[in-house]
């Protein structure tokens, strides 16, 4: 297995490749799945397969006559050539632009994007000068996304990490099912924001619509303006100095620090009343068993 080269693997079927690399479906009984860190691991900052890019190497793509797939393929090709800053011109609201970028990159979109823009990204820093449609940066893993104008609904759906920022206002269900990361809204957010939130932080500098944080399991929501209503199991908590220091740092970083500071921000967390850890009470189990 250790002597298997990439050239050898390329000649195999997928099943043969998986077996040659030790990925089989045999019984795991009696085997340990524990993995331990190597304390002497090499200092490496990017994935082994990530292209070597230079932020100072810049290029542009005029996307006017291109499909989304062609644009995304072109971005990958340019990254393979070492371009670390790519500007997309004339995006004209195309859907799914800049999805699946899994390494460091500065991506600048000069205009507005359609649905599912920059989804599934892991590492890049994205600036969008216009507006974005539904589900911008859904399933984002890491990196930063800055939207200069307004965003549609389900902004940052299921985000897992990174900073997603909208300087304007966003639609409803912002950060639905978010599992990590930070969503910052400079303006207002719509109804059901933070719905089923499991982890991470959401900061709304303006007002929040009804049912904020409905059915949230964990995570924190900070709101600077009015909250129309809280959702099921979303409760107020007292912000402490650590919260305020974090808010100041984050909002200053993105140029969204309110004139009156952060002392007026309200903190919303899960009441943990919906936490279920077993389907049946022991007494109920006894009745059945």
């Amino acid at each position: 297995m250790a002597s298997m080269t990439d050239a050898d693997l390329a000649t195999m079927t997928q099943e043969e490749r998986a077996r040659a690399l030790g990925m089989t479906t045999e019984q795991l009984t009696g085997k340990s799945l524990y993995i331990e860190f190597d304390p002497d691991a090499e200092e490496r900052f990017t994935y082994p397969w990530a292209p070597e890019v230079d932020f100072n190497k810049r290029t542009e793509i005029d996307t006017d006559d291109m499909t989304s797939t062609e644009v995304n393929s072109r971005i990958r090709a340019l990254m393979a050539e070492g371009f670390g800053t790519i500007v997309l011109k004339n995006p004209r609201g195309k859907h799914s632009l800049g999805v699946g970028i899994l390494s460091r990159l500065n991506l600048i979109v000069e205009g507005s994007t359609g649905y599912f823009g920059v989804g599934l990204i892991d590492g890049p820093n994205v600036r969008i000068n216009g507006r974005v449609g539904w589900s911008c940066a859904e399933n984002m893993m890491s990196g930063t996304v800055m939207v200069e104008k307004n965003a549609g609904s389900t902004f940052g759906a299921a985000i897992r990490g990174g900073d997603l920022v909208c300087r304007g206002s966003v639609g409803s269900r912002t950060g639905i099912d978010m599992k990590g990361g930070t969503i910052i809204v400079g303006g207002d957010t719509g109804a059901l924001s933070g719905f089923m939130m499991q982890r991470g932080r959401m900061v709304v500098c303006g007002n929040a619509g009804k049912n904020l944080g409905d059915s949230m399991y964990d995570g924190t929501i900070y709101v600077g303006g009015k909250v129309e209503s809280l959702g099921v199991d979303a409760v107020d908590a007292e912000p402490d100095d650590h919260d305020r220091a974090w808010l100041r740092r984050k909002l200053t970083q993105y140029g969204l620090m309110p004139e009156q500071g952060v002392d007026h921000f309200r903190k919303i967390v899960a009441g943990k009343q919906l936490w279920n850890y077993d389907n049946l009470e022991p007494n109920e189990k006894k009745l059945i068993l």
Partner: protein
């Protein structure tokens, strides 16, 4: 009836789950034989005064002004051993005994972040083999 109120216990000591792997404190936890909730504070935001030199360099390479996705990485505990959850592997990765643990969660979290980045970027991460076996393009 289940699910009507929080009946887990609170984390009171940084070594709580090293000293007591089961972590059954509340009456409800003892009753069901299962610890309720996370074994670390998932909402704890990082103290930037405690960054390690490696993490400072990582932020610089990635072009970030803060820890970005690593703000959600903490040191947790698996079977009474310190460990970090690796989302790319969907499992825990243990801290070797050779690494001594600081006496506070913030410094432990910084160690966890550094080790996790080094592991994810190394050739021994399972994702490297998975990519070779299953990547379609």
């Amino acid at each position: 009836m289940a699910g009507t109120q929080y009946r887990g216990s609170e984390i009171t000591d940084v070594d709580q789950f090293l000293n007591d792997a089961d972590g059954l404190v509340s009456e409800r936890e003892k009753e069901i034989g299962q610890h309720i909730g996370y074994r670390y504070d998932v909402n704890l935001t990082p103290d930037y005064d405690r960054l390690t030199p490696f993490l400072v360099k990582y932020m610089e390479v990635m072009g970030w002004d803060d820890l970005n996705w690593l703000e959600d990485v903490h040191m947790g505990y698996e079977d009474g051993r310190p460990a970090v959850f690796d989302r790319n592997n969907n499992g825990w990765v243990r801290i070797p005994d050779a690494i001594s643990l600081p006496d506070n969660q913030q410094d432990r979290d910084m160690i966890a972040r550094e080790l996790l980045v080094k592991f994810q970027m190394s050739d021994r991460h399972p994702l490297t083999s998975l990519r070779k076996a299953y990547m379609k393009f």
